[in-house]
Subunit: 127 residues, 6 copies
Amino acid sequence: MDSNRYLRGWEKLKEIDGEQGEKVIAALSGIAPDFADYLIEFPFGDIYSRPGLDLKARELAVVAALTALGNAAPQLKVHLHGALNVGCSRQEIVEVLMQMAVYAGFPAALNGLFAAREVFEARDAVA
Amino acid sequence: MDSNRYLRGWEKLKEIDGEQGEKVIAALSGIAPDFADYLIEFPFGDIYSRPGLDLKARELAVVAALTALGNAAPQLKVHLHGALNVGCSRQEIVEVLMQMAVYAGFPAALNGLFAAREVFEARDAVA
Amino acid sequence: MDSNRYLRGWEKLKEIDGEQGEKVIAALSGIAPDFADYLIEFPFGDIYSRPGLDLKARELAVVAALTALGNAAPQLKVHLHGALNVGCSRQEIVEVLMQMAVYAGFPAALNGLFAAREVFEARDAVA
Amino acid sequence: MDSNRYLRGWEKLKEIDGEQGEKVIAALSGIAPDFADYLIEFPFGDIYSRPGLDLKARELAVVAALTALGNAAPQLKVHLHGALNVGCSRQEIVEVLMQMAVYAGFPAALNGLFAAREVFEARDAVA
Amino acid sequence: MDSNRYLRGWEKLKEIDGEQGEKVIAALSGIAPDFADYLIEFPFGDIYSRPGLDLKARELAVVAALTALGNAAPQLKVHLHGALNVGCSRQEIVEVLMQMAVYAGFPAALNGLFAAREVFEARDAVA
Amino acid sequence: MDSNRYLRGWEKLKEIDGEQGEKVIAALSGIAPDFADYLIEFPFGDIYSRPGLDLKARELAVVAALTALGNAAPQLKVHLHGALNVGCSRQEIVEVLMQMAVYAGFPAALNGLFAAREVFEARDAVA
């Protein structure tokens, strides 16, 4: 384990995904603890930590990709929280989700929009 | 045909996709001319013309989604041109493509990066 | 909003998807009301309203596609209802679902068949 | 090998896919001859030979599914020929392809339409 | 129905998928009984019964494919049981699931790992 | 860059993918040199270097996944070479490809088999 990548990744994961991300890491401890390390190190320590694209644009791109793929509902919700955590507005997120109707079809966009509704309501309930 | 949507969409298509987009419309004339109209009206007249998210963020999201889906190589190239046309830097595009390794796997990211290399080289050759 | 497309789409949506479709439109009102309009206008006002292919063949094609994609379970159920609403027999639907085993694999076909079982039972319970 | 299934499947494959299908079978002989038998027996001897749905509806469903999946361009072309061979009109096929824009996105529909244009032109050139 | 293929397939299905597989067959009886026969005959009677690759390697390949596709959660669980039933270790399974992060992205791998955790816990609870 | 991971990954990449893998790395130098490092470090330095599953089983799992996904033809060929390089027999590979017909459909399996035919012929031509 490269401790710099790990620490940098852990800070970045907390910044972006907050409590949602920490839960994913904790959930891995019983089944694949090494995978928790890889998840911190490569996506967060290597990729998200790069300069050249701000976190808002990165999160909107991830929301777009997960909505288009349509096979990763739990991770889409984590990244809808993530997009809000790094400063994307609800309107920006909804715009990206609607745009996916063009590229991945209306069902993918609908499922993305309903996931966003859940995430927005969950945050309103906490607030 | 709603002429406002059509005209607004046609202007937006030219702004974003330029010559690449006009070729797609022309190619449809012999097989499905109505579909050319829908393509101008809904994606470009309705969606891309919306306020609330700038064209740069929209194009980065589309590049992300098409790279992740991995089943639409010609359209990915059109939108790599589109992203550059609306002001995204090559670095921003490469960052989005690399990030797709995390969400859709390394093969999807590699195919996106090699498509970008072709697009960048084609534009350098013209310039 | 083009009121002809909207009205034509709304009638078509009610004809095909009935109560299931109206629920989807209602569910969008809190998160993306414009998207409800697009959903009525483009898929239903433009595409389903076209001559050249009857609604039964259209719905069987949609059931096939959503079963093959396998990432849109709620929309598959809406269209299993839709296929029955426009006159497809249960046998025709089951034949299409079984055929998807050849083109998208047995898991996709199984999930389609189990969705159909739920839809058929729900309609039997109401009847 | 169950000779009834095999013979029934072989006749059905020739009826639907004609020369295109025979080429696929021949191409398998050098790499996986048993798979050629399975391809004749299960999809054609078992599934396509079933009553309960006519061949036109089956082929339109397959064209829909392969267009939506977007990862099987050669097989889509075989089945565009197949749909025409069993009596679907070019208009019916184009309608199904356009409808896929709603369920799998515009890029999938565009790639389907351009495949159809190639198939229609190839048949015109022969005629 | 070819009784040899059926009987051979039924024995193979019981050997690999055990009670989980029998439940799937039973669940099909009310909606598509012929499909239950096809499922026994082609995948199990034809494919899994072939020499040339042992059942452990076959099940690891299936676990890999279903994890990568990400659209067949119930079947993935059946095959996680199947892999254990034919002698794969939990470690081997976890290694395959982690490897899918490289080829299909971290979300696909995470969903596979959490499915494995459920399956392992269910077997521990029974034991 | 963690030099241990990098060196370990580079050796592993050469062992598995040989000349094919080195070409991919070289091709990245002009467009995304950092991504070449990540590709060596994470998939090869971290994942393929793990004990717990031998390289033959890993490569068969990757061949299965890429065949099922069907959107990464160049990478599938690299890994068909890779599977042979680490000791898988042609028969084992063909068995895995045929099995994908069950889980991802016949078109995916056919495209995998035709890719294998090309790879086998290319190696025969060199030999």
